[in-house]
């Protein structure tokens, strides 16, 4: 039986296009110190540090964990770096949780970051290696065909993506850390923006952000303050290229959700889970993941979105923080989902708090929708 694991501290930076005022070390320290302050601890109280970020090519700092170890108080302590592309923030939290659940450590600091302004992620994701004929331009270029296929299969009307884009940005107006805060955002504004990778419009895409997020994890006996308790953790991956692979609703996502639900005793996610922070970098991924995660039947996800159920005042709010569509420091984006889920069940989400949230899902995916990481956190001990 695994040891219990709690989230006892959360720290975030205000996500923005360019944090020109801080170095990478200064950025991660800002989040880490806020998480420690939330937990009422200092670097001295930590047993280990786990760092996550997306490809090194984004900042051109190879193995940044080596340079960041002492900036995060890891001198003389175990330090690990995690990388699973866009899902890395979630995987990093789960590696940290594993160190607690296994009984190896009492307190672990988990940090994810990205300083996208140091280069250009689309460039880094489209390096045009010789011999390759791939014509994929950035993440949007990769995901657009799968969104198109979802629309064809489900018969979803074309405006559903815009509904998500508006809903998440309205939520962002309630989150002081959110990057995109667009007063007066509405469907007409979203639909007036150009198609970048049709069917994805500009305002249906995530921004490029600088930022860091940190959480402090602890064992039951070392817990301080207001803990969020981990009820389930799961990771899955699948080959990018496999005959018969369903790129609209990947099997790895379904398997990962089934695993985490089983651990948390969830049989009806829409009813039992109070709030979800799900990795939605392009608006259409909300209805797609509603189906993949079992919140809606196949082909019905767009109807759940259209009904308003995923809004902050709906029966199953998705991304009350504004989500990846509002803030995207890539290496931190998954961890932000996990941290926001914890904030919700701790009752500490501020203006975007879902009333009475007791059980929350944090979700991240990455690569060509081939890496998945999820956790369920609760107000009560499991």
């Amino acid at each position: 039986m695994a040891e219990r694991c709690a989230v006892i501290g959360v720290g975030q930076t205000r996500y923005t296009t360019k944090r020109r005022d801080v170095s990478i070390a200064g950025l991660v320290r800002e989040a880490a110190l806020r998480a420690l302050e939330d937990a009422g601890l200092t670097f001295k109280d930590l047993d280990a540090v786990v760092i996550g970020k997306a490809p090194d090519l984004f900042e051109g700092v190879m193995m940044p964990e080596a340079y960041l170890a002492d900036a995060l108080g890891a001198a003389g302590k175990p330090m690990l770096r995690v990388h699973t592309a866009g899902s890395v923030g979630g995987s990093t939290a789960l590696v940290g949780a594993g160190l607690i659940q296994s009984g190896v450590h009492e307190r672990v600091l988990v940090v994810g970051f990205e300083k996208q302004s140091e280069s250009n992620a689309t460039w880094a994701l489209s390096t045009h290696l010789p011999f390759s004929s791939s014509l994929v331009v950035g993440a949007g270029g990769y995901f657009a065909p799968h969104i198109r296929e979802y629309m064809r299969r489900s018969g979803a009307p074309g405006h559903v993506g815009a509904l998500v884009a508006v809903k998440d940005r309205l939520n962002a107006l309630k989150n002081p850390y959110a990057h995109l805060r667009i007063p007066g955002i509405d469907r007409a504004m979203v639909e007036s923006t150009p198609m970048l990778w049709e069917p994805i419009r500009y305002l249906e895409s995530c921004p490029s952000s600088d930022g860091a997020c940190a959480i402090v994890l602890s064992s039951e006996q070392a817990a301080t303050g207001t803990p969020a308790w981990v009820h389930g953790t799961a990771m899955r991956s699948e080959p990018l290229s496999r005959a018969g692979r369903d790129t609209v609703s990947p099997q790895a996502g379904k398997d990962c959700a089934a695993d985490v639900y089983r651990q948390a005793g969830v049989t009806d996610p829409r009813r039992q889970i109070d709030v979800a922070e799900v990795y939605v970098p392009f608006s259409w991924y909300e209805p797609m993941w509603l189906e993949n995660l079992g919140f809606a039947a196949e082909g019905e996800g767009w109807k759940v979105t259209e009904s308003g159920a995923t809004a902050l005042d709906g029966d199953i709010p998705w991304n009350p923080s504004g989500g990846v569509l509002s803030s995207n420091p890539i290496g931190a984006s998954g961890l932000i989902r996990f941290a926001e889920a914890a904030l919700q069940v701790r009752g500490m989400a501020g203006e975007h708090q879902v009333d009475g949230a007791r059980l929350a899902l944090g979700h991240a995916y990455g690569g060509g929708a081939q890496f998945f990481a999820m956790w369920i956190v609760g107000r009560e001990k499991p």
Binding site: F131, L135, G141, H146, E198
Partner: protein, 297 residues
Amino acid sequence: MSDPLTAEHVLEFPGGYTRSTGPVIGRFLTELRAGRIVGVRTADGRVLVPALEYDPATGDAVTGEYVEVGPAGTVTASAWVAEPRPGHPLDRPFAWAMIKLDGADTALVHAVDAGNPKAVAPGTRVWPVWRGERSGHITDLACFAPEVTRIVSPVRVPYTLQAGGALRVFLEGIRRGVFVGGRCASCGKVYVPYRLSCPECGIAIGEQVELPDTGTVTTFAINNLPDPRAPEVPFVSAYVLLDRSDVPVIALVGGIPAHEVRQGMRVKAAWVPESERTASMANIRWFAPTGEPDVEL
């Protein structure tokens, strides 16, 4: 009108005029040569920079007290010089600025190498950039510049990429105008490009299969962002499932307006002329519609 009658003439005292500095300005320039900026204190306690022999406000002599100021200061006013003249301290656009050095009560006029006009404004903090060889002249201060907030860190890693065995088989096929795939002996699926192991079964793939250059568009994106590999914007990047294969390849679709491309559309590779072919995907310009009826997906 006939051309005006003109002639060039230069008026220049040979060797340049000399200037006696006097003790106060002399001290200021001597300190500059040593890499320090000093002001002189007035009778009422203010610090004048550059140092003057008298207090311009009262006409009184200054005290003999020299005060090191700066080295940083704050811009109080500036004017942007978009087109520098030959006699200007910098050969690129710069700002003339009034700079109140830390510890001084008056502002010094100097050039600010700010890069662009938005980078200098009242309140901007600037630091001196010293000339390597100093002689006791105001130009010992080459200019001032905003604080260092960012550096550029070029990374350039040249590689030699060698196509592995499987890719070589595939590209040699492409040189001949043939798509080579591989069939898994366990699950029977055909993978293209040819590869050495089945991602589903994990076993070695031995059997090579020559595939037709026709297929079906399963899905696609219309890209409105330019790309060096695409002939125009918008361009269509599509998943093309080659006939008799089980995994789609991503390829450019051409020969049809982007908005007329359809899921289920039948396409065929458009090869470059045989004389131009190499072991490279550049052999295929794009996939173009065959005109056959669309396939039900």
